[in-house]
């Protein structure tokens, strides 16, 4: 083949452009640390990356939601524990006051303590976390018990959150199930009955109240256990999501991040290639010509 100057020039220009392009692309990867910057870098990986990112975003939000609900459940647990303690105290009083040796004035003062306990329980049942009444089902904007009359005006609805992609789980226990007849015993009414019996020195009434309070205590323990179960479930979901999150992070890195070792060695190679191309072009274009020899 006949080799002309124009041909050599074209070839050199093409080779240089190629070497420059290669260097620029490896430099871009090395400086950004990303293998995938636009979809055309690797279309299949780009599609996968978008879905991975969507899952990562969903997981992060779900874990925040779980954290929020766990906070509410912890508050519910503490409140139910307090209610349980108060009920235990009321039960203790009822047992003590059922004893025939107690005087009516002792029973009257016990009635005052029971009333205090009832008020305390009422306060705990109306617990708010960040402005929402945690025991009032779906009517989170109102107290389940009327603070003055103590009457139950609440909602027994189940609250659910999206706790994992495609999965909505229950996150509340209600005052209705823990303290009202819909859970078995109307605990507040039982306490009122006890304090009334004590005030009126009605020993049989006090004795009867002792029996009902045991059932009430049981009911609160069950509510607390169900809060514990919900917490346990959320905690386990959270740790699963945490693991999935790590996997997704790894997946993302695999899809999008450049491998530093191979990127840097590619860049070094590209630099050498460019240098070689420059040297070759310079020596061919600049030096080898008959013009200089004649």
């Amino acid at each position: 083949m006949r080799v002309t100057d124009g041909m050599t020039r074209l070839q050199s220009a093409r080779d240089l452009a190629l070497a420059q392009r290669r260097l620029a692309s490896s430099q871009r990867q090395a400086s950004s640390g990303l293998r995938l910057q636009v979809a055309s870098d690797d279309p299949a990986a780009a599609a996968r990356l978008l879905q991975t990112d969507a899952q990562r975003a969903a997981l992060a939000v779900d874990r925040t939601s779980i954290g929020r609900s766990l906070g509410e459940l912890a508050a519910a647990d503490a409140a139910l524990a307090g209610i349980g303690d108060s009920l235990a105290r009321a039960h203790e009083i009822s047992l003590a006051m059922a004893n025939g040796t107690m005087t009516s004035s002792e029973r009257a003062s016990a009635a005052v303590e029971v009333e205090d306990l009832r008020q305390h329980i009422l306060g705990l049942a109306n617990t708010q976390v960040a402005g929402i009444y945690i025991f009032n089902g779906q009517r989170t904007d109102a107290a389940p018990f009327d603070p003055t009359t103590g009457a139950f005006v609440g909602d027994g609805g189940v609250r659910r959150i999206v706790a994992a992609p495609g999965q909505a789980v229950e996150v509340n226990v209600t005052a209705a199930e823990a303290l009202t007849a819909s859970g078995g015993r109307d605990v507040m009414a039982d306490l009122t009955a006890l304090s009334t019996a004590l005030a009126s020195n009605d020993v049989a009434g006090v004795r009867a109240a002792a029996g009902t309070l045991t059932l009430g205590q049981q009911q609160v323990v069950e509510a607390r256990a169900s809060a514990g179960m919900l917490s346990a479930r959320l905690t386990s979901l959270d740790s699963t999501l945490g693991d999935q999150g790590l996997q997704l992070d790894a997946e993302r890195s695999r899809l999008a991040d450049a491998d530093p070792v191979s990127t840097l060695s590619e860049m070094a190679l590209a630099q050498h290639a460019l240098q070689a191309a420059l040297q070759a072009s310079a020596s061919i274009l600049g030096k080898l010509s008959l013009v200089d020899k004649l």
Binding site: R2, A39, S40, A46, A47, A57, S65, G131, R139, L290
Partner: protein, 459 residues
Amino acid sequence: MGGLLDALIVGRSAVDAARAGIEITGHNIANASTLGFHRRRLQQSAVEPPPVLGGGVRIDGGTRVADNLLARRVAAAMADQGRADTRETLLLQVEQASASVGEGGIGNAISAFFSSLSALSAAPADPTVRSQVLASAAQLADAFRSASEGLDTVADGADHDLVPALAEVNQKAARVAELNASILSNEAGGQEASDLRDERDLLVGDLARIAGAQTITDGSGQLTVLVGGLTLVQGDHAATLEAAPDAALGGRSRIDLVEGAMRLDLTGRLQSGEIGGRLQVRDQVVPAVQAQLDQLAYDLATRVNTQHRAGFGLDGIGGRDLFAPPAAVPGAAAALQLQSGITAREVAAASAAGLPGNSENAIALNQLSEGQYAGGGTATFDGQVAAIVGGVGTIVAAGEREASLRQDELGYLQSLRESKEGVSLDEEMTQLVAYQRSYQAGVRVLQAVDAMMQEILRL
């Protein structure tokens, strides 16, 4: 004496031929870097010697070293390369506009929107979380709108660039027609009009690159130029290409071949050259991506609205849309926006009125992300975005590969052409030395004859 005079003429012919050779070599050297220059060769032949021994050398003229077949292949490669190169540039813009894999892309906006609904399920009465839902819905609408507008901008850009490209084609086509006429008259004497042919070849290459023009050469050296299979230049006459706004193309330009009173629509036939590349992106690639985005925006807005209408806001009122309901699929992406006047309190998280802690509708809205409601019921919204982005990425990557392939192909053919038709300085230097020697030798012949004549005259 007569014999000596003949020898004198022979010597002069040698000197003349050597001078002509040096002229041609000089011309080649001078034009070594001239674009489109074909090297020239001196054609010379021995003069038949009747009646004596030698008649000397005759200059038959300079010929232009050209390979018409190769020229046509180079032109075809230029047309392909022009198309692939323009297409690549535009495709990168399409990708930039519609297939972002990072922040601000539709994919991220959709996942952020559904995530905000998931957060709403955990705090359905929280005003900040509610505002976040509206904000992410607005961002989603923005992402669709800006992708759609970005695509429009690319198509508009491709459209606007047609006018200067057509002007260039018309100007070059007219010049080819002029050159056809000049070449015909200049070559009537049998001598090749090399420089005019060089210029015409260069123009033909440009026409191929811009409009994918093809050529036919007839026996008399006249060049017919075809674009999209129709005649643009024939002999000394050139038709013109004109851009005309067409309602069927949404107000963008149709390309007509205009010849006197005749107008022919060439738009669908121009598939090569830079113009072909622009038309492909404008009329095929962009509308296809646009249609996918429109369908996705329509499906998403309609689904979300239906579910949103089933729920109730904090004010206990239901039946509201979250997005302004799209009128039709075409244009849905560009028109996507929040329902006007919707407030954070009106976001329908609850499935029943008057229950601020009820997040059943927020959950149902969030679950829309899990269902196959996009792509005609074959994909989730996320999955569909990934499919669109992956699809655009594949087209762009293929476009880039094609551009580099076409570039290589053209480079190879140009090298081949340079190898045949280009100037080699080394070769010209050799010729220069050879002609210089010939000249010196010719002069020596003249000197020898002169000396002999002197001898004779002294008798």
